[in-house]
């Protein structure tokens, strides 16, 4: 018993950063992980929806642009993308804008959140356009026959159905997004993985620090999965397969 208490005691020690205990350090990390994930998820959903719809439009220009967007964000590693936004972009912009961009407070946090969002949006776009094209052709034809414009047939016929079909794959994209948010540590954001490393470098209690981070990620994963399963059952299209 004493051994167990001893093992955990490190979490209640004052951290060398002077902000509270090491448990608090990890919680701050978790908070950043969650904040990045939420912003990135919104960006990914919005951009992914726009680009995903463009991939299915009749206009060749829209298709080509959205195709290029998807290939760009899918074929460069996330880490390199973050470096492009964080180190390269301010150098390429006109001098004044670049200087301003470098001085934005928490710029690394926003870079990570938006960079991760754009990276994920390409994946969302692919899933959404696959869902739209997987629907029976009659849906689009019926909408046109009813006299709906392209915009109307998307907003009132195709998309409501597509979002319900695409929900399960989007859940796994959300889980990926949360995991990928750890890459933010490469541009100096002390999210969960980095806060475990910080705790490790101050205390040399590597095992405890990494175990704690691992357990938090596991719990987060289970929680998100459970919530999404709940919603999934609500939005599932009757007659289509639903995971238990």
């Amino acid at each position: 018993m004493d051994k167990v208490v001893d093992w955990f005691s490190i979490f209640w020690q004052e951290s060398a950063e002077g902000t509270g205990t090491y448990a608090y350090t990890l919680l701050l990390g978790l908070q950043l992980t969650l904040e990045i994930s939420v912003i990135a998820a919104v960006v990914a959903f919005v951009m992914g929806s726009i680009v995903g719809v463009c991939r299915t439009l009749p206009s060749p220009l829209a298709r080509r642009l959205s195709g290029g967007y998807v290939e760009f964000f899918r074929n460069i590693p996330l880490l390199v993308q973050l470096f492009l936004w964080y180190f390269v972009l301010p150098e390429l912009l006109p001098r004044d804008i670049g200087m301003w961009l470098k001085q934005v407070p928490y710029s690394n946090f926003y870079t990570a959140a938006f960079g991760l969002g754009l990276f994920t949006s390409a994946r969302v776009a692919v899933q959404l356009s696959a869902a739209i094209t997987s629907m029976p052709r009659g849906q689009k034809l019926a909408a046109t026959a009813l006299g709906l414009t392209t915009r109307q047939s998307y907003t009132s016929v195709l998309l409501p159905m597509a979002y319900r079909i695409v929900f399960p794959p989007l859940t796994s994209e959300l889980l990926n997004l949360i995991k990928n948010s750890s890459v933010a540590l490469t541009i100096g954001v002390a999210e969960l993985t980095q806060s475990a490393r910080n705790m490790d470098s101050y205390t040399f209690q590597t095992f405890q620090a990494f175990t704690a981070a691992t357990l938090i990620y596991l719990a987060l994963n289970i929680l998100v999965t459970m919530v999404m399963r709940r919603i999934e059952h609500g939005v599932a299209v009757p007659g289509m397969l639903v995971a238990k």
Binding site: I76, L79, V80, F87, E91, T214
Partner: protein
């Protein structure tokens, strides 16, 4: 905006970037994909075996690994592998292990979880009659797997396995956090030394893009080629 670009920095770094960095990245990608596929297939077979406790062990491993960020797993392994090696050899001190080997172990074990899900889907996509027919012919379980199930599962899943390998190719860039000499790592070091990060990172992005794009186009063509029309 490219007026003060120094292309000479990139040209000078080319041999080091490709002969050292890209070779490291590609070696790591291909070996990890190979071991990941083998381990993943074993995990998938365990998961579908129905022999207690094999499905439970494999399922727990796959779900556990898949819920962790790769970066955290990389940090875990670079911390743990020397200790495990110490236990195995019985040395008094943790043994420093070659970083490439540690990275290879990490990526193989990590990717095995993802490859196993692909193989599982591949095996489950086969009609049940295939297995039944094999048993009816008097084949044993290993024979059914080796001669009937796995060849078809591999063929069906080849495009997905290759796509996952492209993802793996991109993910190996994460060894940057350990300052290993992979493609990105070397580019970062040269860029920092010469104060030319902009050029180096743009070049790295371009190379990653060209390779991944070409590879994914090739996979797409292969997919059309190998698809079985039912």
């Amino acid at each position: 905006m490219f007026s003060n670009f120094d292309f000479q920095v990139i040209i000078d770094a080319l041999p080091y970037l490709f002969l050292e960095g890209m070779v490291f990245t590609l070696k790591l990608t291909l070996l990890a994909a190979l071991f990941g596929t083998i381990l993943g297939t074993i995990l998938a077979l365990m998961r579908l075996s129905g022999v207690w406790p094999l499905p439970q062990i494999a399922g727990t491993y796959v779900n556990f690994v898949r819920s962790l960020p790769l970066l955290l797993v990389i940090f875990w392994f670079f911390f743990l592998v020397p200790f495990i090696a110490q236990k195995i050899v019985g040395s008094p001190r943790p043994i420093p292990i070659d970083p490439f080997l540690t990275a290879l172990i990490t990526f193989s074990l990590f990717e095995a979880a993802y490859f196993s899900e692909i193989m599982r889907a591949g095996i489950q996509s086969l009609p049940k009659g295939q297995v039944a027919a094999g048993y009816a012919l008097g084949l044993s379980y290993p024979q059914v797997m080796r001669r009937i199930v796995l060849p078809q599962a591999f063929r069906n899943m080849l495009p997905v396995l290759l796509t996952q390998t492209i993802v793996l190719f991109q993910d190996t860039s994460l060894v940057y956090v350990l300052s290993l000499n992979d493609f990105l790592g070397i580019a970062g070091k040269i860029g920092q030394r010469d104060g030319r990060l902009t050029e180096m990172y743009l070049f790295v992005a371009l190379v990653y893009f060209l390779i991944s794009f070409a590879a994914s186009q090739a996979v797409r063509r292969l997919q059309v080629h190998t698809a079985i029309i039912r």
